[in-house]
Structure formats: structure tokens, C-alpha cells
Amino acid sequence: MTRPTVDLRPTTQPPRAPSRPITSLLVRPQVIALVAVLLVNWALFPGFFTITWQDGRLFGSLIDVLNRGAPVAILAIGMTAVIATKGVDLSVGAVMAISGAVAAVLVTSGVAAPVAVLVALGTGLLCGLWNGILVTVLDIQPIIATLVLMVAGRGLAQLVTEGYIVTFSDPLLIFIGTGSFLGLPMPVIIALVLMVAATLIVRRTALGLLIEAVGVNRSAARFAGLSANALLLIVYTFAGFCAAIAGLIVAGDIRGADANNAGLWLELDAILAVVIGGTSLMGGRFSIPMAVLGAMIIQAMNTGILISGFSPEFNLVVKSAVIIVILVLQSPLSARLLRRLPGTPK
């Protein structure tokens, strides 16, 4: 029964936008910011870029930046998708605590480590699904819906650990947090794999476009036949899954589940990483690799402050000053000013 519905005159292709030259990628504000922060670190500490091979793994401040930035980067991967739908997930820090607690309690009570890891990841999925249900079925605003789990989740984690720091010596969990593969720390490997996989999945399938469509205009998405609710469920569940992975890494790193402190305030770092990465809180266009880059900028700053020898009272001031500079650089205002500079093509 299908017939062409409009006559198809010979078509001339519309002018195709020239693919971006690689140089334009390098002058993005995020890349400039990262390079600038790294250079400042180098000025403060000349050995910053030194990387040595030690005990079968790479060792150096740059590796530390990658390693310490990995949990926030992983959170940011999930958070990017949520923010692209015009939502936000405040609960990821608490979900980290839950996942670490579940894994730690299970292995200490004799459950096989792979099972414990799977159960912890499953718990993260469930937490994300819960958020998704609140946002879709009950149509609660994301910031409120996820606030519920942000507050209650940490309590839940404390319930699981009964208030103790549950320490463990399980080799698999410790490997997830501190092991290395091909010379790189496991958290870095996990973050990289997750970033590449997530980027491929959203860009090779239609998910990326559909997520952006829902973020730009949820009502129009419904009218265009998109299952906006199914997408939102997936996105929040994925954010919960990412948080669970980050929780396992953080627990494995200190060989214990610290329900009070694991992931505390990291949801804010993750949101910041996404925003630094250029994804608007108003939803729409998003970039997972840029969010990961944002997480690395934040961590490069943290590491820089650590090795700078500044008194810790300055930590937050320095951090906020740098972030303000980055956000100003990205603002539409500075984009306009840049365009007005002589010599730049219109």
C-alpha cells in the first residue's frame, strides 16, 4: 500500500556543512582551560608531567589526575544524558554510597565477589529506575524527584553498613578500585571504556538524537511519536548504573565502604563537569567526551591545589575562580565578543 507521497523531482543536495577541521576542536574553551590548568600545575610543580614506570604501572601526577578524576567522570557520563533531557540527577552521590555499601557488606558476609559486584550494579540500576519512575510516571520535577534519593539514599547506605566503615580485603573489589591494566589504573580504564561505549551507543544508534529531542521539547517529542517516558527511564537508570560503578571504584580504592562520606557532594562535581563540557542545563545538545573532559579539568584543579602547597583555606576560592573563568569563556556573551574580534571569520 505504500506509494511515494510527493513527486520526487531530481534533487540537488543541500550544501553540506564542511566537516570541522581538527584545529577548531583544539580551540574549544574546555581544551584551552584544561591545557591552562595543566600548565599552571607544571609551573607550580616542575615534576608534574613526569611519568615513570613503577611496579608494572604508570606513576605520576598526570596519572593521578586521570585516576582521581575517573569517579566524577563516570558520574558525568550518566549525568550528561540526564541533563540532555532537561533533567538533573542529584542522587548519584548517594547511589555511590549505596552501591559501595552493598558490595562491601556482601563480600564481608562471604558472597562471591563477582556476585557482589553484580548485585551492587543492579542496586544502582534499581535506584536509577526509581528516579526515572518518579520523573515519568509521577511526573515529578527531576530536581525534586532525585532529591528524595539524595537524602534517603545515604541513610539507606548507612542502614546497609549499620553505620560502620565496612572494610574488606576482597581482591576483585580492590582491583576495581586500585588495580591496573596496560599500565593504567583500573578506574581510568573503566571510565574510558564507559565513555567510548556510551558515546558509540548514543551516536551510532538514534538514542542521542532522540534524547536531545526530548530535552529540547518534550511535548513536541510526544507529538512526533517518540516514547519520551521510555527514554527518560533509560537515561535515569543509566545514571544510576554509572553511579554504582563509581561507588564500587571509590569503595575499592579505600578498601572499605564509607556510607557517610562516599560520593558526598560528588553529584555537584558531576553536574559541574557536564556544564563545563558545554551541555546546557536547559537540555538539548550534549557531548559525553566533553563532560569527561570537564571532570578532568575539575580534577586537574584539585590535584594542582594539592601539590601547590597553598593553605587549604584557599582551595574553594581557587576552584571557584577558575570555574567562573571557564563558564564566562563559554557564555554567549564572550562568544559574541570573540566574533567581533578583528580577523575572525564571520
Binding site: F45, Y164, I165, L264, T303, S311
Partner: protein, 323 residues
């Protein structure tokens, strides 16, 4: 797990409680205890020790968990007053805003003992306050290090608590006092680890990188044991031996630091005793039965523990206290 803890608790307490001999004086007394909550392992230990000490003395302890909220504490104290308890213990969540409810207690003739933290209120509103001396804790840790190092040149790195918190300020001050005048000991780096393991580990990693792979560090001083546990892992990851290549000294005496001592990875810790209730009950005993007013500020002992002090035994004993 709970049952196991309670059993272990009883066993652990036998050695811990020196004051049990005077117990008869408070037999049958009703005492209310308004606890802050259970935000840390130490707090949980304080709660379980208080309950155990009260049981030992035959006290009918009314326990109220405030879940970090002052209004809950005030509500609990009013409840205790209404029940006509013999005395009230309060671990205050904040320093201000207590005048009104403490005046009510005073008018009802119920003595109030502050545990663990001080408040800003006229001193006649409470019987006494039982707390540790945080400056002294830092000093004891520093003095141990001075003695352990001798005349050797030693660069110390410091893991501070949360910026601006009173234990961070005081423990830093006490440690610096102990090191004052010792030219061979210098604090080369000092950063906050937020009292947490993961930040302690991260900061120590940074220090090691910045100090020539850790070769320029002779000792690490952490404001609490959790950060020290994190630092120990960072030292090991860098291929160095904690406790040997880099000395580790910290404060609190939680079970995990004893586990590290058993492994030879930690050198000293200063106890912040969870038994604030023991001295408090002693003071109440003397006051209620003999009418003797205690000192206004009772300072708990800041005892130093090293690997010579049976760390395995301490670990086993403390593991049951709810840390």
C-alpha cells in the same frame, strides 16, 4: 551481626571500664541521654559505650537520637524534664541556642552534663562538661614523633581535618606546639583530607608526587585515623613501606588503625575515648549522693597507643564497640 556486637561489647568493656567499682551510687537512677546521631563510627561507639556503662551501673538510661538536629535535642531534653529524670546527658549538636531549655532543666533541679562538645552558655546552666582536650591530642601525637625521630632531619606532611572545624584547628595547633623549637622537624606540606579515607589517600598521593616520590617525607601526621588509613594505602601504592619509610601518627584510636599497627604500617595513635559517660557518671554520683560539685571542665585522658600496646588486643576489643 548485632548480637555478635553486643557480646563483644560486654567482653571489651570489662577491661575498658575502670570506674565500675563505684557503680552502686547510681543504682536505679533515671538518666536521659540526648545523642547527636550516628554520623561517625566514633559516635556510634560513644553511644554503645554509654549504654553499656549505664547498664553496668544499674542506671535506667533513656536514650534519644537527635539525627543531627538541635530541635530534636531540645524536644528530647524537655521530654526528660517532664519525665522527672534524675540527670541529663547531652552531646550538643551545635554550640549556641541552649539557654532556654537548660534554664528549664535548672529550674526543675535536674543536673545536666555536657558530653564531648562545649556550648556557649552561662556556666551555671550545667553541672559539668566532659570532653577531650583536642590541643592536647595534637601535642601528644607531636611529642611522640619528636621522641621517635630523635635528632634526625625529618620532613612531616600533615593531613588536616575539615577546614575550619574545631578538631582540625586544635589538633594542628597542639602538634605544632610539640614541634616548636625542634629544628630538625618541619611541616613541609599541610592540606585538608576532610577527615575521610578517600580524601586522605588522594591528598597523600599528591604529597608523595610533590616530594620526590615520597623520598622527602619522613612522617605523616593525620588529624584522624581514617585519613591515616587512606594515607597508608597511598604510601603502599607508591612502593614505599608505611610505618618504616614514612612514619604514620594519627588521632582517635579506631579499630582499623590498630589493624594497621598489627601489620606494622602505623606507628602511633592518640585515643579520643568514646567513654565520656564514665567520668560523667562519676561526677553525677558524687553530686547526687554527696553533694560535691565537680570541676566545671572534666578533661578525658588522651592516651597514646603504639605497637607496643597489644594492637591486636585493642583491635579485637574496639571492634565490638560499634566503630
Amino acid at each position: 551481626m548485632k548480637i555478635f556486637n553486643t557480646l563483644a561489647l560486654g567482653a571489651g568493656l570489662a577491661g575498658l571500664l575502670m570506674s565500675a567499682a563505684y557503680a552502686e551510687g547510681l543504682q536505679g537512677k533515671v538518666i536521659g541521654f540526648s545523642q547527636i546521631g550516628s554520623e561517625s563510627g566514633w559516635r556510634a561507639a560513644e553511644t554503645s559505650v554509654t549504654k553499656a556503662v549505664a547498664a553496668e551501673r544499674g542506671i535506667d538510661l533513656k536514650f534519644a537520637d537527635a539525627q543531627q538536629k538541635q530541635e530534636n535535642q531540645i524536644k528530647a531534653i524537655r521530654g526528660f524534664i517532664a519525665q522527672g529524670v534524675d540527670a541529663i546527658l547531652v552531646a550538643p549538636v551545635v554550640a549556641t541556642g541552649w539557654e532556654e531549655v537548660l534554664t528549664e532543666a535548672k529550674e526543675a533541679n535536674i543536673p545536666v552534663v555536657l558530653l564531648d562538645r562545649g556550648i556557649e552558655a552561662p556556666e551555671d546552666l550545667y553541672l559539668t562538661s566532659v570532653a577531650s582536650d583536642q590541643v592536647k591530642e595534637g601535642r601528644v601525637a607531636g611529642e611522640w614523633l619528636v621522641g621517635a625521630v630523635g635528632d634526625k632531619q625529618c620532613n612531616v606532611v600533615e593531613l588536616q581535618g575539615t577546614v575550619g572545624s574545631s578538631p582540625a584547628i586544635n589538633r594542628k595547633q597542639g602538634f605544632e606546639e610539640a614541634l616548636a623549637g625542634k629544628a630538625n622537624l618541619t611541616i613541609t606540606r599541610s592540606q585538608t583530607g576532610d577527615f575521610t579515607r578517600s580524601k586522605g589517600k588522594e591528598v597523600m598521593e599528591g604529597f608523595i608526587k610533590a616530594e620526590d616520590g615520597g623520598k622527602n617525607i619522613c612522617a605523616v601526621y593525620a588529624h584522624n585515623d581514617d585519613m591515616a588509613v587512606g594515607a597508608i594505602q597511598a604510601i603502599k601504592d607508591a612502593g614505599l613501606k608505611p610505618g618504616t619509610d614514612i612514619l604514620v601518627v594519627s588521632i582517635d584510636a579506631v579499630p582499623d588503625i590498630f589493624a594497621a599497627m598489627v601489620a606494622g604500617e602505623a606507628n602511633a595513635t592518640v585515643e579520643l575515648t568514646p567513654n565520656m559517660a564514665g567520668p560523667a557518671f562519676d561526677a553525677l554520683d558524687a553530686y547526687l549522693n554527696a553533694g560535691t560539685a565537680p570541676e566545671k571542665f572534666i578533661i578525658t585522658e588522651s592516651r597514646l597507643y603504639t605497637p607496643a600496646d597489644d594492637p591486636q588486643g585493642e583491635y579485637d576489643r574496639r571492634k565490638g564497640l560499634g566503630y
